[in-house]
């Protein structure tokens, strides 16, 4: 009964249909890739690619976040830097006035009063600088929830808390400058020194004035040290921001490598698939047609 190699119309039909199906299924996959522009449309398309893609998306997000954090940090440091350099100019003026008060010990009370009141003005301007805010938070106030870093008398009312920004994986950089660091503490605290100088000039106490001039220089140096420190941190964050942006670019191109279709290759694949599909169709049309019936008359 077994006829080896027996072929029937329906077995040809089954095989031809199966081959055409396989061909068209391949076409469907290529069409899906072309129309979505993605090689990976579901995890099973490439499990490792999917996980890589998810991680790269995470890295993209992180790089964007680092860049945003860096912008915020630069805002803080910029504020601190501008404030400190303006304050520095004012401190220089205060030193001039102090030297003037020291050298002209014979000044009359009226001109001493003028010097002293200008120093008082400078002091309150400096307190104003020290209370500079960035996004509603005093830059020199540590982590205080209050509005002020220094009260009207020049007393520090903030705290020693530090504000940091994450600008890279594990890279947390401080973006504030604490009041006591910028404006000194104890006997060389800028506002105390200025108050003392103004008092000395009013009272004509030149010895104390000379002593306080040294203290003013110490406070001024302290401020300049902090200023250069802030500048250094500003540079560091800018560098980190640049590297975050570079990283963003390279991660985006990696993500594209993993996920996106290789257009020329995919289009070539599609052409090949279409050609072979048409050939298969033409061939099957020819194979099935003739039968013995056509020749029996």
């Amino acid at each position: 009964m077994a006829v080896i190699g027996r072929v029937t119309e329906s077995s040809i039909h089954t095989r031809v249909l199966q081959n055409l199906q396989r061909n068209i299924a391949k076409g469907e996959k290529i069409q899906e890739q072309l129309s979505s522009g993605k090689m990976i449309n579901r995890p099973s398309d490439s499990p490792t690619g999917t996980v890589t893609s998810m991680q790269l998306r995470g890295e993209t997000r992180a790089a964007q976040q680092y860049s945003r954090n860096a912008d915020d940090g630069l805002g803080w440091l910029n504020t601190a830097q501008d404030t400190l350099s303006s304050a520095s100019t004012l401190v220089n003026r205060a030193r001039d006035l102090t030297v003037q008060g020291l050298s002209s010990g014979t000044n009359d009370a009226q001109s001493n009063e003028a010097l002293a009141s200008e120093l008082d003005q400078i002091k309150s301007s400096l307190i104003g600088y020290a209370n500079t805010k960035y996004l509603d938070r005093p830059v020199f106030g540590g982590t205080t929830t209050g509005d002020l870093a220094y009260d009207a008398t020049g007393t520090f009312v903030g705290n020693a808390g530090q504000t940091t920004r994450t600008v890279g994986a594990g890279a947390k950089i401080r973006v504030d400058a604490n009041g006591p660091e910028a404006f000194g503490s104890g006997s060389t605290q800028l506002f105390t020194v200025l108050q003392n100088i103004s008092d000395n000039i009013r009272s004509g106490d030149t010895d104390a004035l000379a002593d306080n001039l040294n203290k003013l220089d110490a406070a001024s140096n302290q401020m300049k040290t902090t200023l250069s420190n802030v500048g250094a941190r500003y540079n560091r964050i800018e560098g980190m921001k640049q590297s975050a942006q570079d990283r963003l670019l390279s991660v985006t191109s990696q993500l594209s490598d993993v996920e996106d279709v290789d257009l020329p290759k995919t289009i070539m694949d599609m052409q090949l698939q279409q050609t072979s599909y048409q050939a298969a169709l033409a061939a099957s049309a020819k194979v099935i047609q003739p039968s013995l019936i056509d020749f029996l008359r």
Binding site: S11, S44, T164
Partner: protein, 476 residues
């Protein structure tokens, strides 16, 4: 010496036999495209006279014509059994592939909007909160973003649960279908056994029965064996489903909802003995989906949710909100008294001021400071969870990776199995299908046979005419 008219009978048997053969060929051609039809062939056998001689009745050794001894159904039972096995495997893998595709659609990774992206957005918002802990707006955004993540987990869980319920409904419907098909087979067995016993050919009924058994194989991975009397026994997982004329029933018991699966597992079992059925095919795949795949993924998702809640809560509870509140859980279970799972997780904080951002209590004022201290260390630490090697993100990625591997493996096996099944089908079709060329040739042969038999009849007729009408007329 045989009868003078014996030859007429011989020609007549040939006419009958050739006509029967032409009828069968016609039936084959008519069913050339009928699904499941098995080609038939007429077996002819030459007839001999009485071979046990008696005194007045003995044969001259010549045959007395031809008879149709059988109309054979040309089907190879071994190829059929192979076909049943391969169809069962194919049905199993096709169903698993569809299941995995549906689950992959549930998670919709990788994309810019799915759960992973929602988690990324949430960690980004924690970072924004860390940048500006004093702003209520960013904290409100954080609460919304975190709710989106919780909702994403809830909806992934709900979709898995609804897939479970749908599969259950479908499985129960298939169990009914199997019971009906089994009854049909038992009934066909009855008809076939009776007909075979009385010598009638029932090829078309056997085709029907083979189709029904194939359907059962696809549904349950059933195997079959023929009895000598023509009845067919059907087995599912080594237990009898149809034994000659009697059937057993399948039923689905246990969990209807995914949430009950852990306490009262779903089982596909025999209605009479209540023992579980080792089914293959579509129903076997569905049973595996309900007992292994969906619960496995659901557990993995629960673990991600728990990891998220635990890692965030541990840091959050240690921190202080803007209003000085502390010890609060950020993520809680939406159903009181139940643990945090993907289905129950929700954001427990409603007031943006209670979002813990600081390691120090901002309401405590330490003189000479005139206001409290609000740092961002807690919010910053929370934002870092996103990058943690043991954090929920990594766990979720691993889960999606495993899902992808499992799905890919099943889909590849399905591709291979589809090929094998189609090859086996083509082989079966080659064995039992109708070849029109062959039928045309048979048509010719039998037609010629019929013509020749008619000619024999005519010859004998003219011979007898010679004898009866023209013999002994000498001198007339």
């Amino acid at each position: 010496m045989g009868s003078s008219f014996g030859g007429i009978n011989t020609a007549l048997t040939s006419l009958y036999a050739q006509r029967r053969a032409l009828d069968v060929t016609g039936q084959n051609i008519a069913n050339a495209n009928t699904d499941g039809y098995t080609r038939q062939r007429v077996d002819m056998q030459s007839q001999v006279g009485s071979i046990s001689p008696a005194l007045y009745a003995k044969t001259d050794g010549l045959g007395t014509g031809v008879a149709v001894s059988d109309v054979q159904r040309l089907r190879d039972e071994y190829a059929e059994n192979r076909g049943r096995t391969e169809h069962a495997n194919s049905a199993y893998l096709t169903n698993q592939t569809q299941t995995y595709a549906a689950i992959e659609d549930t998670f919709a990774e990788p994309s810019d909007t799915a759960l992973q992206a929602q988690l990324h957005d949430m960690w980004g918002t924690w970072n924004d909160v860390a940048n500006n802990p004093q702003l209520t707006a960013t904290r409100s955004t954080l609460l919304q973003q975190s709710s989106t993540v919780a909702d994403g987990l809830n909806s992934a869980h709900d979709q898995l649960a609804s897939q479970f319920s749908q599969t259950h409904t479908q499985l129960a419907a298939y169990a009914e279908e199997v019971n009906t098909a089994a009854a049909t087979i038992a009934q066909l067995n009855g008809s076939i056994v009776k007909a075979t016993a009385s010598g009638v050919t029932v090829n078309e009924l056997e085709d029907q029965r083979d189709a029904a058994v194939m359907h059962l194989s696809e549904l349950t991975g059933a195997t079959a064996s023929l009895r000598k009397n023509g009845a067919m026994d059907v087995f599912v997982g080594n237990s009898t489903l149809v034994s000659e004329f009697t059937t057993r029933n399948l039923e689905v018991s246990g969990a209807v909802r995914l949430d009950d699966q852990a306490t009262d597992p779903m089982t596909l079992r025999w209605a009479d003995t209540k023992t579980s059925v080792g089914a293959g095919g579509t129903m076997g795949a569905m049973a595996d989906t309900m007992t292994t795949i969906i619960p496995g993924l659901s557990d993995a998702l629960d673990s991600v949710a728990k990891n998220l809640a635990d890692s965030v809560n541990a840091k959050h509870a240690a921190g202080y909100g803007v209003d000085g509140s502390t010890g609060n859980d950020f993520f809680v279970s939406g159903v009181p008294g139940q643990p945090i799972t993907a289905g129950t997780i929700k954001v427990g904080i409603t007031d943006p001021d209670q979002v813990a951002v600081s390691s120090t209590d901002p309401t405590v004022i330490v003189p000479p400071a005139t206001a409290g201290s609000l740092d961002n260390t807690v919010a910053d630490a929370l934002a870092d969870i996103g990058d943690s090697a043991t954090g929920p993100d990594r766990e979720y990625q691993a889960m999606i990776g495993q899902l992808g591997v499992a799905s890919q493996a099943v889909s590849r096996r399905n591709d291979i199995q589809t090929n094998v099944t189609q090859q086996v089908d083509a082989a079966r079709e080659a064995q039992s299908g109708v070849n029109l060329d062959e039928e045309m040739t048979n048509l010719l042969t039998y037609q010629r046979g019929y013509e020749a038999a008619s000619r024999v009849l005519t010859t004998i007729d003219s011979m007898l005419d010679q004898l009866i009408n023209r013999t002994g007329l000498v001198g007339r």
